[in-house]
Each structure stands twice: as structure tokens, then as C-alpha cells.
């Protein structure tokens, strides 16, 4: 059985996550072996996911952690211990 390019595109995400059912995965795999366009789409998508997951894409503001803990410190003192808030 042959599968068309545009059907392969519907499975790119599932293919990358390993969530396709084995029969579909097999069809996609076979198609990828001879289709350079779908292979390039798969490779570029995988590459883009690696780049966007890089921690350097979103940098924390300088001093974020210090300010967070300082605020928690200041406000937690004024908050009743969390166990009480549930009962109240």
C-alpha cells in the first residue's frame, strides 16, 4: 500500500513522538525512504524542535530568581500557614 505525501505530513508529529500505530508508522517509514521532500520536512521539523527547546531562546530576566524569593519571603510571613487556608 502506498501513501501520499500529504498524508505523511499528517503524521509528522506523531512520528516524532513515537505515538503512531505500528502499521501507520511502517507506511510512513517506507515513504520516507524514497521521498526526499517528506524527509526534508521531517528533518527540518525535528531540527526546529531542537532549536526552539534550547534554553537560550527564552532567557530569564536578570535577577528574576532573587526577586521571586524575596517577594515570597516577604509575603509568606503575612500568609497563614497553608494548612489553615484550606480549612477556613
Amino acid at each position: 500500500m502506498v501513501i501520499e505525501c500529504k498524508h505523511v505530513w499528517e503524521h509528522i508529529s506523531g512520528y516524532l513522538d513515537g505515538t503512531l500505530d505500528p502499521a501507520v508508522r511502517e507506511l510512513v517509514q517506507k515513504h520516507l525512504e524514497h521521498c526526499e521532500i517528506c524527509s526534508a520536512i521531517l528533518d527540518s521539523t525535528r531540527n526546529i524542535l531542537i532549536l526552539t527547546a534550547d534554553e537560550r531562546v527564552f532567557e530569564l530576566p536578570l535577577g528574576y530568581s532573587e526577586r521571586l524569593h524575596a517577594r515570597l519571603e516577604a509575603e509568606m510571613r503575612g500568609i497563614a500557614p497553608p494548612i489553615d487556608s484550606e480549612d477556613g
Binding site: 506523531g14 537560550r56 530576566p61
Partner: protein, 207 residues
């Protein structure tokens, strides 16, 4: 990043906080500071607002810690708190035009990828380059909100599909559909742009 460090017993830490050792809360949240900020930023698109929303979310988590149910992961619970916090801030800014949740997709909701004949691998070092970083940030930021959220949870913060579904309060199959579209939207936008990145230039221009 969202992985629970192996040596931590979070249930024990939470029990200790609830027993009055509030200082342990600082340690409990440390591994998730970044995820909570990034999720706030993804919706609010402004660093100062995102930082404030993140602080608020951690305070809410502290206040409501007794209501945390151990069947969920603490990290997933935190993420759902910050998403709610950021969404309610967006709603409060009612003067600001709300982003539409409906995006022009073709009738089946398909997103066609950018067609390429080959792909030259872009190494991770490329992210050091400001132009590449801005390209990636912009593409993510331009995703419609429902796709931006799922993409960040799954592909940036690396939650599992099940955890993403829990954090967003949607079904596993909705997670898969949205994630697929988000990834295809990014491929469609970024693949042609990244192809233009000059391979002859060194990734570390200062070396």
C-alpha cells in the same frame, strides 16, 4: 527542565511545609522557576508582566498548597496555576484587543508544511546568534494562543502528552491535534527563514 529531580521527595517537602516549615517552599519551587516564567511570558508577551504573574502564581501555589492533590505532579499543578493567572490578566486587559482563538486554517484544519528538497542541519550553537534567537522567539510568539501553549508545554518545557492535557484541562487527542498543527505552523514559517541563515558565517563570530 520540568523533570522532577531524582533525589527530591516532593510529597515529603509538601508535608513539611504544611506542617509549618514554610521555608521549604523556596526549595520546592526552585526547579520550576523557569517553566513558570516561560509559560507566563508565552501568554503575556511582556517580560515585566510575565515576572509579576509568575510571582503571583507561586504565591497562589503557596496559599493553596493544602488543596494540592498528590495524584497530579506538583510541576503540572504549578503550570496550570500560572496559565490561569496569565489568562485572567489577559481578560482584565479588556481594553486590549484579545487574540482570536480561531485561526484561518483550511476547512479540515490542515496546516501544510513548507516544502523543501533537502535540509541542512542547523546546529544548536546557532541559537547564540541574536538573529536566530529573535527568529525563533518571533515564530513562537506569532502562534495563536492555543497552539503556543501546547507547543511550549510539550516541546519547550517537555511535559508528557498526558501532563500537558492535565495542565491545559483538555483531552489527550486535543493535545495531539493542536501539537501537530503548532509544529507544522512553526516548520512552515521557520524552515524557509532558517534556510537563509548564512552557513558560511561561523556560529561563534567572536572566536
Amino acid at each position: 527542565m520540568i523533570e522532577t529531580p531524582a533525589s527530591r521527595d516532593e510529597a515529603q517537602m509538601i508535608a513539611s511545609i504544611l506542617a509549618g516549615n514554610s521555608q521549604a517552599f523556596h526549595e520546592l519551587i526552585r526547579p520550576y522557576e523557569r517553566s513558570v516564567y516561560v509559560m507566563a511570558l508565552s501568554l503575556l508577551k511582556n517580560e515585566a508582566d510575565a515576572e509579576d504573574a509568575a510571582q503571583e502564581a507561586f504565591l497562589k501555589a503557596y496559599r493553596n498548597l493544602a488543596g494540592f492533590r498528590a495524584e497530579a505532579k506538583f510541576s503540572t499543578w504549578l503550570i496550570s496555576i500560572v496559565l490561569n493567572e496569565a489568562r485572567s490578566r489577559l481578560r482584565r486587559k479588556s481594553a486590549v484587543k484579545m487574540e482570536s482563538l480561531d485561526e484561518p486554517l483550511d476547512e479540515q484544519g490542515h496546516v501544510s508544511p513548507a516544502l523543501l528538497r533537502d535540509w541542512r542541519e542547523i546546529p544548536s550553537e546557532a541559537v547564540e546568534r541574536g538573529e536566530v534567537r529573535v527568529m525563533l522567539q518571533q515564530a513562537i510568539s506569532d502562534l495563536p494562543p492555543i497552539y503556543r501553549e501546547i507547543f511550549l508545554l510539550r516541546d519547550v518545557e517537555e511535559l508528557s502528552i498526558d501532563e500537558s492535557a492535565t495542565a491545559l484541562g483538555i483531552s489527550v487527542s486535543a493535545v495531539k491535534v493542536r501539537l501537530h498543527r503548532a509544529r507544522m505552523m512553526l516548520q512552515k514559517k521557520l524552515a524557509p527563514q532558517l534556510k537563509q541563515v548564512n552557513p558560511k558565517r561561523r556560529w561563534f563570530p567572536w572566536l
